[in-house]
């Protein structure tokens, strides 16, 4: 009885709570506060924040695999057995044991797994969610399909030139990659080229793309990258306006744009197929993201699978969002997140947004130099994606300059172009980095 009580006490969170886990729970609460009170992308940040708290419940091991749980929570006997199997001498160090496990041959790993199961340890539920939702690649792609089913390419088709704005805004991604490797070269941080690429994608201002890329290139940084991406997307109305004001004159902001032509349903059906075929011909590494995106859009526009399109936009995307958010939260473990790298990621992320915004605006001004059909440069900033927030910012600033200057539909063109642009950038980076590795 006393032994049992003692065991129970040893198991309470109070006894086990390391400072890091306590801090991470506070960070999870902060994310919930931002999501609920400040409306920071709540659909994602509520599950992510909550998942982050759950992942840091001390002694619960919800975010760990069975083997990790055996190493962290197992008694001396279990750890000694694990150490023997893994031929590790200092079995006090959880880190050493896990590193040895990662290096071990498949047959040894299987025996270790079996031992963990026999000792009563199993995968935490968040770990299982992560395996199914993110490690398989499924959840970001399913969400991208749903986003495709929600996207109207009409404004883009009415004015295809706005694709250039979506292209220019992706410079934020690549400049940030350079910034990250620069920090590494300067010895401030320790980012690999794959880390740098994953961090850069924050500048794509597109959540599923960022999660997809970092799950492939830098799974350890996934939590910080996703949090940065969604937070800055929520902060777009604060980040973008000063940059837009600084780079444009009052006259430019007043430029009126001609009414968009009406786009036929046939064009809307054919466009995602054209995009898909171009991807197939030119950039197969972007095929998962853009393929699912186009699939969703075809379901939306073709008019004969209303049932499927509606489910993709509602039940399916909602279910996937819940598990994606919890899974991202499972990566907010203290030893991963409470790292100087996270500060670097947050810093680089906001730079990426700023550069992307600026390049979008500057590209619009450049296009005005060479073309006689003028573009209001305020819609350039919408090229970072952050749909539909960035387009609304463009519209609001247009109305500030001239109360009759409605830019919303014009800004939707570069806005969805930015989604395509960052998916293309994601494909390029995955392709290049995996060839380097």
């Amino acid at each position: 009885m006393l032994a049992s009580m003692n065991n129970l006490w040893l198991e309470t969170g109070l006894n086990q709570m390391a400072f890091g886990q306590f801090a991470m729970i506070l960070i999870g609460l902060l994310l919930l506060f931002l999501a609920v009170n400040k409306k920071f992308e709540p659909l994602l940040l509520v599950p992510i924040g909550f998942g982050g708290i759950l992942a840091n419940v001390p002694g619960a091991g919800l975010a760990y695999s069975a083997v990790e749980n055996a190493v962290f929570l197992g008694g001396d006997a279990v750890r000694a057995q694990l150490a023997e199997l893994l031929q590790v001498t200092n079995w006090d160090s959880a880190k050493a044991l896990l590193a040895a496990y990662d290096r071990a041959a498949p047959s040894v790993q299987e025996v270790v797994n079996r031992l963990a199961a026999q000792a009563g340890f199993s995968n935490g539920i968040l770990y299982n969610f992560y395996l199914v939702a993110i490690a398989s690649g499924a959840a970001p792609l399913i969400i991208f399909m749903g986003v495709g089913a929600m996207t109207d390419f009409g404004p883009l088709l009415a004015n295809p030139r706005t694709l250039f704005l979506g292209a220019a805004a992706q410079f934020g991604i690549f400049a940030t990659v350079l910034g990250a490797v620069g920090l590494s070269a300067a010895g401030v941080m320790d980012f690999s080229i794959a880390d740098a690429a994953a961090i850069g994608i924050i500048g794509g201002a597109d959540g599923p793309t960022a999660i997809y890329v970092s799950s492939i290139l830098a799974p350890d940084l996934l939590g910080a990258i996703a949090v940065a991406a969604y937070s800055y997307m929520a902060l777009v109305p604060l980040i973008q306006p000063p940059i837009m004001r600084w780079l444009t004159t009052e006259e430019e902001r007043k430029i009126g744009m001609v009414q968009l032509r009406e786009v036929s349903r046939r064009e809307k059906i054919v466009f995602p197929l054209v995009l898909l075929i171009l991807v197939a011909l030119v950039l197969p590494d972007a095929a998962p993201l853009l393929g699912m995106f186009c699939f969703g859009n075809v379901m939306r526009e073709c008019g004969v699978v209303e049932r499927l399109s509606s489910t993709a936009q509602n039940a399916l995307i909602n279910i996937t969002t819940i598990f994606l958010g919890l899974s991202v939260g499972s990566k907010l473990a203290s030893d991963k997140f409470l790292d100087p790298k996270t500060l670097g990621i947050l810093l680089l992320g906001i730079i990426a947004f700023a550069i992307g915004t600026a390049m979008g605006v500057l590209m619009a001004k450049l296009m005005n130099l060479v073309s006689k059909q003028k573009i209001n440069p305020l819609i350039g900033s919408a090229g970072v994606s952050a749909v539909p927030m960035a387009a609304r910012v463009s519209n609001k600033m247009g109305l500030e300059a001239d109360p009759h200057n409605f830019l919303l539909m014009h800004a939707m063109g570069p806005n969805v172009a930015g989604v395509i642009g960052s998916a293309v950038a994601a494909g390029v980076m995955i392709s290049i980095v995996s060839n380097l590795g």
Partner: protein
């Protein structure tokens, strides 16, 4: 090592931006070509109205008529959702 990292980064940036621009430029041309083709050879028989506007015939005499049309549509959609196979 660090120089290699930087050169990899520069590589990634140049190549990446290059591909993004080339791809989206191709897409601009492909899209414009597709739109021209569709508009010339496959024009839509009757361009559908942007939103199913309810007939607003006697809207002034019966102020609820429009609302009821909308509701009728909502109910029908609701039903069809439950009947479809």
């Amino acid at each position: 090592m660090q120089n290699e990292l930087i050169s990899q980064g520069i590589n990634l940036m140049l190549l990446g931006m290059g591909v993004v621009f080339v791809f989206l430029t191709l897409l601009v041309f492909a899209t414009s070509f597709m739109s021209a083709l569709v508009m010339r050879y496959f024009p839509e028989p009757h361009p559908e109205p942007p939103v199913k506007a309810p007939p607003i015939s006697s809207a002034t005499t019966q102020p609820d008529a429009r609302l009821l049309n909308i509701l009728k549509a909502a109910v029908e959609e609701h039903r069809s959702k439950h009947n479809q196979r």
